[in-house]
Structures are given as C-alpha cells and as structure tokens.
Symmetry: C2
Subunit: 369 residues, 2 copies
C-alpha cells in the first residue's frame, strides 16, 4: 500500500487493565480485518489485507493516539462494510475511540457524498442570498394526516424553508406514510402558490429494506425534493439509494447514534455525523445543538460543522442542521457562532408560541429575512 491508497484511521486508546499499547493497536488492525491471530494469516495477506499500525504515541498515563492504515478495497465499495471495517468488532471492546479519518481519493470518488449539499439546498429552497436556511418538524405522532397537513400549511405560510416529518412519524395507523405524504405535499404546494413562498416538505422515508424503495419512490412521485432518513435505523446505504435511484435530497437524522459518543469509546461525533454521514450522501445533517435537550458542547457542534463543510476531495459540503431544543430567541446567536451556511432546525419553540405562522415569521425576521 502506498500513502495515497490508504484509509488512515486515527484512534484514541485507553489501556484497560493488563493491556499494552502496541498489542492493543496491533489487535485492532487484526480484529478489523483478518480476525485471526497474525500467525494464522498467510504472509502475503498480512502485507496487503491487514491494517498497518502507522503511529502510536503516548498522550498521558494509559492513553495513546494510534493511526492505522487500511487498504481502501477492504471497505468493499459499500458503507455497510466500511462501518464494519471502522468499528464493527471493536465496538465490543473497551477504550477505543475513532477521532479522525484521512480519506483516500478512491473512496471519496466512489461514495461521492452529497448530490446537492449546501449550494444545492440553497437552489432547491431558492435561498441564494447568504442567510441560514430554516427547518421545522411536523409533530406529534398521533396527529392524523389532515392535522399534519394543517401544520404544514401554517409553517409554509410563515415562510420556513423546509418542513420535515418528525423522525418518529413512520407508518403508524394515525397517519400512514402514503396518506401523510400526499396530504402534506399538497398542503405545502397550495401554500406556496397562495403566498408566493417556496417551502419544501421532506417526509420521513426511514424504513427497512423491504419498504424503503417504495417510500422513496412515493416521495419522488409526489413531487418532494427530498426526504428525512435516519441512517442508523435504515442503514447508512439508504442515503445512497435516495440519492442515486430517486434523485432526492437527504436530510439525515442522528437517531440511535448517541451511544457511540461516550467519552473514551466509540466515534467522535464529527467523524460519525460529520465525515461518515456526508461521505455516505447526506446533504444536511441534524445534530443536537449545544444548550438544548442533549449534551453536545459548542466545541463538538463546531467540529461537526467543520467536518460537514471542510474541503474533502471533490465532495460537496453538507449543511449542518443544529436542533434538539433550539429556542427561537437564541437562533440568531447560534448563526453568529456557526455562520450562515447552517440550517436552523426549530420545532418545540415554534409550537410553544401557539401561532405557528406568526412564530415562523418572527424566526425568519430574527435571522435577517
């Protein structure tokens, strides 16, 4: 392997009782590839198909940084195996955290990232001036399709850019997917026509492999420009399917990913929600903003933003969508911190106001429209 053909993964290792740093690093390289002791691996494969420890440095007592290089072909051209290579078996071991990835050109060219990205979402929403995008969520589960359509209309009249299903709206009997899709898409189209606005409705198409394609096709056929997907429920490759087969923009939701963000274990949020979601095809990525109902620090949020927007081969930048309890009154503050290439996701704070249209208009005013 030469350097530009390597997938170089950076880890922080915390030694467990009885562990040695070099054994731990070498153990990861074997566990994630050959899954055999080195003496059982044919000599030729040891050099080509087993991870190579490139560096190992002490940070503090019992803590090390390590970098391991893998042949890109080990990812097999699919994100299922990419994730397995990165963290499949070692998810079951203690004291291993992925802190960064240096992507080889071949994998970036293969996975391709967002089809729309920041610029494409601005074109879809018609927001070409340099203001943040706005997004809100239809809820709660239990409301019927007509009620959700009425909410859609109210938000669209307020001028919000994207109206997404709450990620807990799936195919429940209270508002089955197809019925909700039709009702809400008709509502947003009608409101746009009446008000000269350009809101988009993104239904939650998250589903298993038996149903996913039908839901994506239905969204496209109904005229939706994009969908909401929770990659950790429907599989990371669901993003590619939406992008490649249906031409849909993808807003990705972090449901179920939180367990990887523990201190000293897992994947850095900027690796998971930044690099991986973007590489897999997310045009925008929702994450729990600092100061909301969840525990990310502002520094973590900024590292996700950076991972989504930074130069990365020929990949388009993806738009950060901080949410999870963001207050209308703090929205402008967060945009000052995060910059205008951000999608402000506000749900509860608009619902709390009571008048959704007025609350949405007020939000847009604070954001400079």
């Amino acid at each position: 392997m030469t350097m530009d053909e390597e997938l170089l993964v950076h880890y922080r290792l915390r030694l467990q009782p009885g562990e040695r740093a070099d054994d731990k690093a070498r153990g990861i390289a074997l566990e994630q590839t050959a899954e055999l002791p080195a003496r059982c691996v044919p000599e030729t494969l040891l050099a080509t198909h087993v991870g190579q420890v490139r560096s190992l440095e002490p940070v503090s007592d019992g803590t090390f940084t390590a970098s391991i290089a893998y042949a890109p072909e080990l990812a097999g051209g699919e994100t299922t195996q990419l994730l397995n290579l990165l963290f499949g078996n070692i998810s079951m071991k203690a004291g291993i955290r992925i802190t960064g990835i240096d992507w080889p050109a071949s994998l970036l060219e293969h996975f391709r990232g967002p089809a729309f990205g920041i610029d494409g979402l601005r074109q879809l929403t018609g927001v070409t001036e340099k203001r943040p995008l706005t997004c809100t969520a239809l809820k709660p589960v239990g409301a019927d399709a007509g009620e959700l359509a009425a909410l859609t209309r109210a938000f669209a009249r307020g001028g919000v850019d994207i109206i997404k299903d709450d990620h807990g709206l799936a195919d429940q009997p209270s508002a089955p997917y197809l019925e909700r899709l039709q009702a809400c898409q008709q509502a947003v189209t009608a409101a746009n026509r009446e008000n000269g606005c350009n809101s988009l409705y993104f239904p939650n198409a998250t589903a298993g492999p038996a149903d996913l394609a039908d839901r994506l096709a239905a969204a496209r056929d109904a005229g939706c420009a994009g969908v909401l997907l929770s990659p950790w429920l429907s599989g990371m490759d669901s993003l590619r399917l939406a992008r490649d087969r249906y031409g849909l923009a993808v807003l990705a939701h972090p449901a179920m990913t939180g367990s990887y963000f523990a201190d000293g274990h897992g994947l850095d949020p900027a690796v998971m929600l930044g690099d991986l979601f973007r590489v897999a095809g997310a045009d925008a990525v929702i994450y729990p903003n600092a100061g909301g109902r969840f525990g990310f620090s502002q520094a973590t949020c900024e590292s996700i933003n950076h991972a989504l927007r930074r130069p990365l081969g020929a990949l388009r930048g993806a738009m950060p969508a901080p949410g999870g309890g963001m207050d209308v009154r703090r929205a402008a503050h967060w945009i000052e911190c995060y910059g205008p290439d951000t999608m402000v996701l506000i749900g509860g704070s608009l619902y709390a106001d009571g008048d959704l249209t007025a609350a949405t208009r007020a939000l847009l005013t604070t954001l400079g429209r």
Copy 2:
C-alpha cells in the same frame, strides 16, 4: 391503553447533575413519542400516544428503575421505528439504560421472530439428537474464492454443521460475493456428497438496501439454507426480508452493537442481542463469549441465552452462538454451562491447529459426537 396492549419498557436511570427522577422518566416518555413539551401536546394524544410512566423506584443514591408503557402502534409495525421508539433520541442522553421489555401479544404476532429457531436449525443441519451445533467462519479477508472454497471443503469434511463467511467478507475484489457464494456452496455440496455429512454454508449477505435483495436471492438460488446478516449494518428489518421473501435461516452477527452495552447507558445485551434480534427474526445469534477477546461476563452470556430461548408468545426459541475467541479445549466446558441448545462458534482456534479437518473432528468429539 389496557395492560395487555402495552409495550412496557424497563429502564435503569442514573441521574445527571441537576436532574430529578420523575422529570427524567417523564422526559423519556415525551422525548420518545411526541418530542414536544407536554403543554404543546393535544390533550387527547397525551393519553394515547405519549409514553406513560408506570413505576419509578429508587435503587441507590441517584439511581432509579423506571417502567414506561407505550402504545404498540407507536412502533408502526416495523423494526426501524421500534428501535427509534425504544432508544432513538435518548441514545443521545446520559444515564439511561433499557434493562428489559414486556412485549404485547400484538407486536410478537406481528414481528413473528425466527422462522426456524432452535428446532428448525436442528432439522436443517440434521442434528436432531441433543448435542450442540457447531459453526465456523471462513477467513481471512483477502483470500480468493478458490481459497475460501478449499477451507469450506476442509471444514465440511471435518463435519462442522454450519460454515459461515466471516462477517468481514462482503463484496471485496479479492472474493466478490457472487463468486465466493458459488465456489463455497459448490464446495460444501461436493464435500457433503463425498463424506455423507450435512454441512451448510451461510454466506454473509449483509448489504445496504440497494443490494440486499439481490444477495439474498442469489444465496437462495445457489441452494443455501441460510445467511449471515449483521443487523446493525444492514438494518434490523433485513432479517425479516431474508425470512419472509427468501425463506432463508438467519444467523445474526453483533457487529457495531457493542457501544450500546456501556455500563449505565444503552441497552442490556440480553435486550439487544436476545429480545430484539430474536423478535426481528434471527434463528441464531452470535455474541462474544465470556473468556474470549471481548468483555462479556458469563452472567451476561447466560442472560442472552435466556432471552433467546425463553417462552415469548408463540415465538420460536433462537439459538445462542457464543464465539469471539472460543478455544476448542474449552468448548465442552461452555456447553456444560450453556446447555446443548447452543451453537459453538469457533474460528481462530481451528485455524491455529493447521489441519482444519482434523481440528474440526476433534472439536466434534469433545462435544459428544
């Protein structure tokens, strides 16, 4: 909601600084359903579509047990939304662990669990006497299809019951899925014919939604009785697809699940690898055995075994498949602990021997065949 219509989820809560137990429990009930403050939820939906805290008991200072009931229809009839309901957003909160689930009959009848289960796997493998099943893995990645077929032949001659792909064998150029599938299935068929044995080959069909159906169809068409799937990579509903559309038995692998098993956070391994994998359709479930390369205790392994085999509506019992560094010399010991309705998964320890056929025969002898 009446009691027999409830999905009752049991949690262990560790209070974080500034948290109150009743707020934390009520917060989970809202977060996982309405995702709105209670005052923003219509009165009628509060009673029907928001989780209801049924109990909250202190365990020790700052630790509580809580039980919350959810309407089964919130799961929307699909495991993607079931997982989201159980742990989607709260995966991003600290100090919440799911310790058990009381399943309503309606969900068990809907999801249906294993099509084969313990008895069905015994029929498929022809092991109707009360001995444990044996399983091994083809590895390492990098070997070509011919080399993997030669390993298959050697293992089959030894009489192992199931020969599965290593879960790191996906569709890499070294041994592309279709080529490997044909070569290994032909090898096992030929060896069975020559030796009068009845080994089965289970290819790793794990893939994203664009490819999964093709891989399952190819496995069925090649004559495989089952497949290996990593539900946390291909999505939990991939098990149902293999079961319902292709009639394949499913051996489920725990890749990527380890991050949910941290102390004080996530899902108990018996809930994830026991209840959830079984309910979703796994006939056998691989987990990292105590004393191997991973960190499960024997008590944890026994709790997974119990969850897989215990009476659960009309669901078939699923077979535990402890692996992850199990030694041939300890196999009989583990079967004494776990009982004969267990599938012993041994890879490295057979490879270390050098003569795969002889090592496999020796394993079977220690297990009483």
